[in-house]
């Protein structure tokens, strides 16, 4: 193990990790918004949109992100739509993440018993008030385990962005292996980088879930 090499190239990894985190943060935030929107459309069965969202969710969940990215990055320019690596990465991540988030929120929404809604209505609350005070707070806390699994899943998925020429962690490792044949060192730094990014997030989510379960408010 050549630790001088490790020391020398750590800044490359830090820079790449920054890019990975930035793209993941933007992509996941937008995924949450898209997911919320889609889950609400599905939950209220808004005509036409409901169907469209259904098709989107199935397409997105049953195809690999890599192909979605290749289509965006190599395919679309052929019909004149040229997107940067970063734009492709974000669009791809949101296309994928939106459907996963939508399913997480929807199962949360659907787990709220109808009698809860009726209890709210019979207090004279409007439909909007019932949703914002009774349905959403419960639905969100119920969907937290699925939500946190999705966040970790999406961060992991960012590793394929190297395939559309984004200089992320994978790409740095691949280059170092190719250029200097420093396989062990490059892979060690690669694994460490992902551990440093993902382990704390995973632990925080586990703690939140544990707290929720203990404070669980099942009847």
């Amino acid at each position: 193990m050549d630790f001088n090499f490790v020391k020398e190239y750590i800044p490359h990894y830090i820079e790449a990790a920054g890019l990975t985190i930035r793209i993941a943060a933007i992509g996941i935030s937008l995924s949450i918004l898209l997911g919320l929107l889609c889950s609400i459309i599905r939950y209220f069965r808004i005509p036409i949109l409901h169907r469209a969202v259904g098709i989107y969710i199935e397409l997105s969940r049953n195809t690999p992100l890599l192909i979605q990215l290749f289509f965006l990055y190599f395919g679309l320019p052929k019909i004149g739509v040229v997107l940067s690596s970063e734009a492709c990465a974000i669009i791809g991540l949101v296309f994928l993440g939106g459907s996963y988030m939508a399913e997480a929120f929807r199962s949360g929404l659907e787990s709220i018993a109808n009698s809860q809604i009726e209890a709210g209505l019979s207090l004279g609350l409007t439909k909007g008030q019932v949703i914002s005070y009774i349905v959403l707070p419960q639905a969100i806390s119920i969907s937290i385990p699925a939500f946190s699994a999705n966040v970790i899943f999406l961060i992991k998925e960012t590793s394929v962005f190297s395939a559309v020429a984004l200089v992320d962690l994978m790409n740095v490792a691949k280059d170092l292996i190719g250029l200097y044949y420093k396989t062990d060192e490059s892979l060690l730094m690669l694994v460490s980088s992902y551990l440093i990014i993902l382990l704390p997030i995973s632990i925080v989510f586990t703690l939140i879930e544990r707290r929720l379960r203990h404070a669980g408010f099942g009847n």
């Binding site: 199935e58 397409l59 969940r61 049953n62 195809t63 690999p64 992100l65 890599l66 192909i67 979605q68 290749f70 289509f71 190599f74 395919g75 679309l76 320019p77 052929k78 019909i79 970790i152 992991k156 998925e157 960012t158 590793s159 394929v160 190297s162 395939a163 994978m170 490792a173 691949k174 292996i177 396989t183 062990d184 892979l187 690669l190 694994v191 992902y194 551990l195 993902l198 382990l199 995973s202």
Partner: protein, 225 residues
Amino acid sequence: MQDLGIEVLFQGKNLFRLLEGLWVTVRISIISVLISIVLGIVLGMIMTMRNPFIKIITRCYLEFVRIMPQLVLLFLIYFGLTKMFQINLSGELSAVIVFVLWGTAEMGDLVRGALTSIPKHQYESGKAIGLTVVQNYLYIIIPQTIRRLLPQAINLVTRMIKTTSLIALIGVVEVVKVGQQIIEASRLTTPSAAIWIYGVIFFLYFIVCYPISILSTRLEKHWRN
């Protein structure tokens, strides 16, 4: 007439080659899933043991495999193992190893979850009507475990098939790689091939994964009631 690009699919054996590539993808997934199911059941049973040492080891394995992106695992096996042991693993073998490592972890956790989710009174009521331990497992515990397990196990198959797209990045000639080869070969004759080829691959994956997803949700709904 303007070049549409779609004819690239029908030139020579292009479509056939894509389907052949798809088969490589599916084959690797199926082999990996089958091995993962067997090892996963063993792992799941081991994980229900109370021994703290076993608990820590299995937990670490599970967390590591789950936290690492599959592409990183592929690199670790394909480049790392090759260098460390001076052996030359084919891309395909590396892929199977990675998917089995990952699939065993996921299956193991599913099996553990299914086993521990069977309420205690189910074990007891079997005993109460005079079943032997073996009969109890055979007629009561295992059927319930399978009902909880099978939909998620099937779901794991689609996740694996989708993930196999990554093995193109370590040089395995499967559907994505074949697609790249076709695009490369027809660069001069059909410049717009990329959009068609990737579009077709997109739908090929969909056609393979969608029925499996549906099967999984159907089973889950069916057994929940």
